[in-house]
């Protein structure tokens, strides 16, 4: 990766009249092993390297990208971007600007003990074979006739320069695991994912992450739990009850109904035609959305996190953002464009998944802050309730107000004790009701890996969703 080419792009854009220019040379290296029903599928290696530039000309913004990394190609790329920005300027009724930010020069990387580039396909394949062996004979009288495992290494390296003087070089290695498992019991087959909810185990770091996943313990144990889940037939109570959400569910809640609506580009309408807008308005900082127990944050700097970075894709240093504090909306997620529009500063939320995708406002690692409760302490005070430990189906409207989570591993709670499994409890609830009913947070914060979708063209970006067990009081639960 040649930094001179990025500098050349920025200088050329400035010479051609850009009021602001940036260039990012980015390489995404991936390798993935896939094992299906004990048989290897073709393994996959990907190497995407190219340059993306953004130029701001007369308040009009253009983004261009190519994988042809020659000076001639980059010159043409810059000239095309400037021309397009100028053409669009007359239809850009709301002039675009970027907030003023201090420029930084740094080299940074996610901590990595065992270099991810040294991991071969054979290493990934060996892990998956052992996992398959651990569950292929079924558990507790339940067969697993279909088993599809994925294990993937990812490495992102980027050089970033802009016309304000930023010069950054970053590196993030990652490891990611997910699977589909069919469970057959009494002639009926159900298919779920491990982890549940189409989630992943995902962390930044080198091959040492495999030890932290503890897959050889995690997968058989989860499959065993699944074997009990598929036998469940009893329906959940459908009156108003208390609900305890497991960390996998509370993490998703924080992402969907706090992180997304807090993205300032959605609030400003920029994603209106695709990912949607927000129930929050631009003057809603200070708005009370939940109980005093509602605390949600996003922090790109969390060690080992899937959404780890130290500088965002506009060169702004990463920091923790408190999104909801004591039930009050306390900040939005901003890039330099949205920060300029709302007369504030960026809090380093600009991310891009590849060289050919524009940096837009994204979450990194969004989570409900832990509290003091033990799980047992939380259950003890529940007369009648449902414990939704994990989920599969979920969705939310495009303002992030009306959401639904359908439990997978779920239990009845009666007189302060967790009882039998219940099948598919449905939590369909508005965002203020959800955060307004939150009265207890566990001390057991946990994170899951996920790929968050946004942007056009679509950008699936690695994130963590996190939370502890949380308790919601007086909630209506439904059954399918």
């Amino acid at each position: 990766m040649d930094e001179r080419l990025a500098r050349f792009a920025v200088d050329r854009a400035r010479a051609l009249g850009a009021q602001y220019a940036e260039a990012r040379i980015q390489r995404n290296l991936e390798s993935e092993a896939i094992l299906r029903n004990g048989n290897p599928e073709p393994a996959v290696i990907g190497d995407a390297l190219g340059i993306g530039i953004r130029v701001l000309v007369n308040g009009s913004l253009a983004f261009s990208a190519t994988n042809m990394l020659t000076e001639e190609s980059v010159r043409s790329l810059v000239e095309g971007a400037i021309k397009r920005a100028k053409s669009a300027a007359k239809f850009t009724k709301q002039k675009i600007g970027f907030s003023n930010e201090k420029s930084h020069q740094a080299k940074w990387s996610a901590p990595e003990k065992k270099n991810i580039e040294n991991v071969g396909i054979e290493d990934l394949a060996r892990v998956l074979k052992e996992l398959d062996n651990s569950i292929k004979n079924g558990k507790n009288g339940v067969e697993f006739p279909n088993r599809l495992f994925f294990l993937r290494t990812m490495l992102v390296e980027r050089i970033y320069v802009n016309s304000d003087g930023a010069n950054l070089r970053g590196r993030v290695p990652r490891l990611q695991f997910h699977s589909y498992i069919s469970a057959k019991h009494s002639g009926k087959t159900s298919t779920v994912t491990i982890p549940a909810g189409y989630a992943q185990l995902g962390e930044s770091g080198g091959w040492e992450v495999l030890d932290r996943f503890d897959l050889f313990e995690y997968v058989p144990k989860t499959a065993e739990e699944l074997a009990d889940v598929v036998k469940a037939e009893k329906k959940p109570p459908t009156e108003t009850v208390d609900v305890i959400l497991g960390p996998e569910v509370s993490g998703l809640v924080s992402h969907e109904s706090c992180g997304h609506p807090g993205e300032a580009d959605r609030i400003l309408g920029r994603e209106g035609a695709q990912a949607g807008e927000s129930y929050l308005k631009s003057n809603d900082i200070g708005y009370k959305i939940g109980s005093e127990q509602a605390f949600v944050s996003d922090d790109p700097t969390l060690p080992n996190s899937m959404g780890f970075y130290l500088y965002d894709e506009e060169g702004v240093p990463a920091r923790k953002r408190a999104l909801i504090s004591k039930g009050i909306i306390s900040s939005f997620l901003h890039n330099r464009e949205s920060a300029h529009d709302l007369n504030t500063s960026s809090n380093a939320s600009a991310r891009s998944v590849r060289y050919d995708r524009e940096p837009i406002v994204r979450m990194a690692n969004t989570y409900i802050e832990p509290g003091d409760y033990t799980f047992e302490g939380m259950v003890k005070d529940v007369k009648l309730g449902v414990y939704i430990k994990s989920f599969m189906e979920w969705n939310i409207d495009d303002k992030r107000l009306n959401q639904r989570y359908v439990g997978l591993e779920s239990y009845l709670i009666e007189k302060g004790e967790v009882k039998h499994h219940v099948k598919d409890p449905i939590l369909e609830i508005t965002t203020p009701k959800l955060y307004g009913s939150l009265d207890a947070r566990g001390n057991d914060l946990k994170f899951m890996g996920a790929t968050c979708g946004k942007g056009d063209p679509m950008q699936g970006i690695p994130v963590w969703t996190g939370g502890p067990h949380v308790r919601l009081r007086n909630i209506r639960v439904a059954a399918r």
Binding site: D47, F63, A65, T92, I181, E428
Partner: protein, 448 residues
Amino acid sequence: MDAKEIVNLVLKEAKRFKVDDAASIASTSHEDMIRFSNNSITIVKSLSNTVVYIYVATEKKRMLGETSNPTSEGIAQFVESLVKSCRANPPSEDYTPLPKGPFRYSGAPNYDKKIEENPDLLIGLAGEAIDNAISAGAKRVAGSLTAYADELTIASTGGVEAREKGTTILLNVRAFADSNASGHGLSCASSLADFDAKGAGRTAGEYAKKALNPSALPEGKYDVIMSPSVAADIFQHVGWAASAFSVESGYSFLADLLGKKIAVEKLSIDDVGLLQRGLGGRSFDDEGVPTGRTSIINKGELKNYLHNTTTARKFSSKTTGNAGLIDPHPWNLEVAAGNSSVEEMIKSVKYGVFVTNNWYTRFQDPRSGAYSTVPRDAAFLIENGAIKNPISSIRISDSIPRQLGSVAAIGKERKWVKWWEVSVPQPYPIIYAKKSRQMPAISVSAAG
């Protein structure tokens, strides 16, 4: 190097390592996009990429690669590394040799030079969409307009050689009459002649205006009329579930149903490789096999799964020209037109809803097909054969196998659909799913 030289170099390098099979596709693409919101352009994008996809197999070991470095040196290094990884990969019982060509390909590509060479045209078209949405009643308009052109070149050790160009132009426009009233408009085409920016803007604006002052809807089971966008979003899952890979992986609701009646008589769905005046599509698949027309559902009966040569061998069937070297997938889903107009459908509904757009379709159990989805933009209550008032904040919950059996009417006019939520292009009619004594209708609910 041009694309033909790239794929030939890949094969030459792969043969140097004495692999049993090799195939390569070089994709050269250019995409121009305009995004707009609040009636103003937010960004213009221009993306040019040459990507080389490579498959190698040796000793029943298989490997796929993708590189964005199409130089001679880059290709040579990447192939060497790919073959090295391939040899380290365990062998697979599923290995199947690549099909032997050469093949003859039919069908004219969907290509319009005007789309490929006219990026500035997009700015004017975006303006037309915005203006028409506002004239029809919108206050704010957002959207994206994309012109995409690519050329694919394939070669394989099976003797395959082919090349084709394609273009698409896609407009997705969303109009807001206020914060609770929005409408969606689409225009998707492979040629400028079939593209209608004004119409898409006007539709979005009209729906936004009609969606003003929505009411809540009681939870319950309703007849539902789905616009082409909604029907396409739901029924694209039929295409994916028909992939033999999905069936064998256990996450298809079409597993074990081949030859069985799974839908009403009037429902037929084909996968078509290259539809004339269609969107995208290909005359050859990733193994170089000619694509064609494959009946998935014919008059309610599940006729075929979609195959590549590997899945075909395992299912004792023939490839349907739908490779994906790992998983076969649909190209274009074509639902046979019915004989109803939307007015006739509305007239026949005593108590139901008309949904114009949706998103976020998710499955509780992909094997059973139980799902829910969130209507967005204009939706309406229908009472006694007439649209009564707009409704909002609803969710549809159903299962696709159940829904296939509840289709009561299919529109006679079809509309091409492809947008953020619908990745498989489809010429789709309006679908009317009716409740009956035998078939409880679609559940509609709202958050508490």
